[in-house]
Amino acid sequence: MPVDDCLFAVTAEDKGAVRLVCVNLAGLKAGLSPGMTLADARGIAPDLVTLPEEPQRDMAFLKALQRWAEKFSPWTSCDGTDGLLINITGCAHLFDGEEAMRRAVLEEFSDLQVEAAAGIADTKGAARAVARFGLRPGTGGAGIIQPGETRAALAAYPIEALGIDDKTIFELKRLGLKTIGELYPLKSAELTRRFGFGLLRTFEKLMGATGDPVIPASPLPGFAARISFPDPIGLQDDVEEALRRLIAQVCKRLSEQGHGVRALRLSFQRADKSEGHLDIGLARPSQDAGQIFRQFRLKLGTVDAGYGIDMMRLQAIATEPFRPVQQRFATAEERSQLDELIATLGNRLGFDRVLSWEPVSSHLPHRAFRFVEAAGAPVTPSWASRPQKRPLMLVGHELVEIIEPGRPPQAFKWRQDAFDLAGASGPERIGHEWWKGADSGAIRDYWSVQTKQGMRLWLSTRPDGKPPSWEVAGVFP
């Protein structure tokens, strides 16, 4: 069913309620408006059709439109989430003038089935105001502000057309300023004193007193390749061969641009139009086709070809500038082998499960390190050795059963084994991190204890505990 024929809205969850984000023309006429909760909207229009919002797909569509709009002028950029800016300086005469160009743009949009409004003016802000607010009564409605007439033409526009944040607009309205024209007689110094420089700068940009160029989004180099088959394929050998060709294409483009890839997605379309995809990650940016292929091949067995695969597309999801660095003289080869192992493990277990340690500046033994992902981890600084010995294993704090008291206890039981004290060194007092507040932990005394049974334990106690309780904090080798 075409969207234009029914009441249609896009919804999103906001502040605990489902609200309308965008409403079509029929909906607006029925009295719906963006920001309304879905429950209210259903009360007004019971036959409202809604879809949840998908901002990422909207953004991707807007980016595609922006690239499309380069047919009018090379200087295009996106404006917010629902606008396009085209700098047509020096281009309008190619389309028989501004009026004809505006009409042509709108016609092309309606061919694409996109509802659009367009405005042309001297400055970016003025053109935006015309496009977004030009249809309102009392603003002229021609869609074009002639050169030099910006100030006069914008006077009737509502204050929202400034394109400034909601708080300032609220404040301006509270002072009774409803149109842009009402700002003209006010002194800029007074406006600045009350609202800060932001309003003044926006106003100057709107009037063309300050430069406000259209900054074209730099085209991202796309690292993707696709292959379509005359007949659907289903044999693993065929899929592997196709994949090898795709990887070769992507890697060639990567090395031309000096990029390395960190994550790739292989999408395939089956003969029955269903889709599937495989994702892999790599430990370090790479342009190595063999390495990428080996990571994919581990997962190719899970692909369900169904009735056959029609089309395959390989896309680099994450790329980074690639600097072929030599890590160390002798071990560059080893390092790349290790990276491949990390990638293999990470692709099956998840990269958050392949870890290495990183030192943390803390005197608390259990906070002196943290786990970081081994993939792409920079070389950590060396582990400074402490004057005091630290246990090989931390066991949390396990209470011991005291058989013969002492400081530390002369005989105790831990994990069902009895231990007798042979020697002890300590105490080493470790305080809490005072900068984290008083309740971040207690002060503890630690003793490194040699037992007659051989075990070397790290016992801890609270200096203020009465009666003292002893805990095993760690085990020495």
Binding site: L341, V379, S385, R390, F476
Partner: protein, 196 residues
């Protein structure tokens, strides 16, 4: 450079084979044996997370260690096999609750052979039979001086060589480990055989 010196007839843990170590000081003995080159430690998350890098730094540079916590035993075995076969790490330490079965261990042996890497299984409950190249039982021993670490080692299975008991004295730091092993004739009642 890293240098570990052993003065005595303590059998070397052969590269390209999988060895089994049990006992309270198994991790320490494993790190001492692995102390050259890169090490991958896989096993149950609780065990792997309890290792304190500052403590391990007495034997080995923690930067050489990659840890892979695996909640599933099958994942841990797969990780160990993959890492051994790749040959890109020098030593793989798998912390497993019990000895893997003969088939599983045979796979690990073949993988270690392919990758020419040292495989170490740290087990809490060693099984009666194991396909490991050597089996060790390792307990801390009472040391007289605080700066040395005494370990009591019992080698109770050795496919190519003799068995025996040693007291291993570990001195020094991660750069120069000084190992001194003294053969002990009579196990003094706390060894593996007494425990069974």
């Amino acid at each position: 450079m890293n240098e570990a010196r052993t003065e005595s007839q303590l059998p070397e843990l052969a590269n390209g084979r999988v060895h089994e170590i049990s006992g309270a000081a198994a991790l320490a003995f494993g790190l001492v044996s692995a102390h050259r080159g890169t090490v991958l430690i896989c096993g149950s998350p609780a065990q792997v997370a309890s290792i304190h890098p500052e403590g391990a730094a007495h034997f080995i540079d923690p930067r050489q260690i990659i840890t892979v916590p695996c909640p599933l035993r099958a994942d841990a075995l797969w990780t160990a096999e993959t890492a051994l076969r790749s040959g890109s790490v020098d030593c793989v330490m798998a912390i497993l609750g019990r000895t893997p079965g003969l088939t599983e261990l045979r796979r690990l042996q073949l993988a270690a052979q392919d990758g020419k890497a040292l495989g170490l299984l740290l087990t809490e409950q060693p099984a009666a039979n194991s396909a490991a190249e050597t089996r060790w039982y390792c307990q801390p021993a009472l040391s007289k001086t605080p700066d040395s670490t005494l370990l009591r080692l019992s080698l109770y299975k050795n496919k190519r060589g003799t068995m025996g008991h040693w007291i291993l004295d570990v001195k020094g730091d991660k750069d120069t480990l000084d190992l001194h092993a003294t053969p002990v004739r009579e196990p003094d009642g706390t060894g593996w055989h007494a425990r069974r």
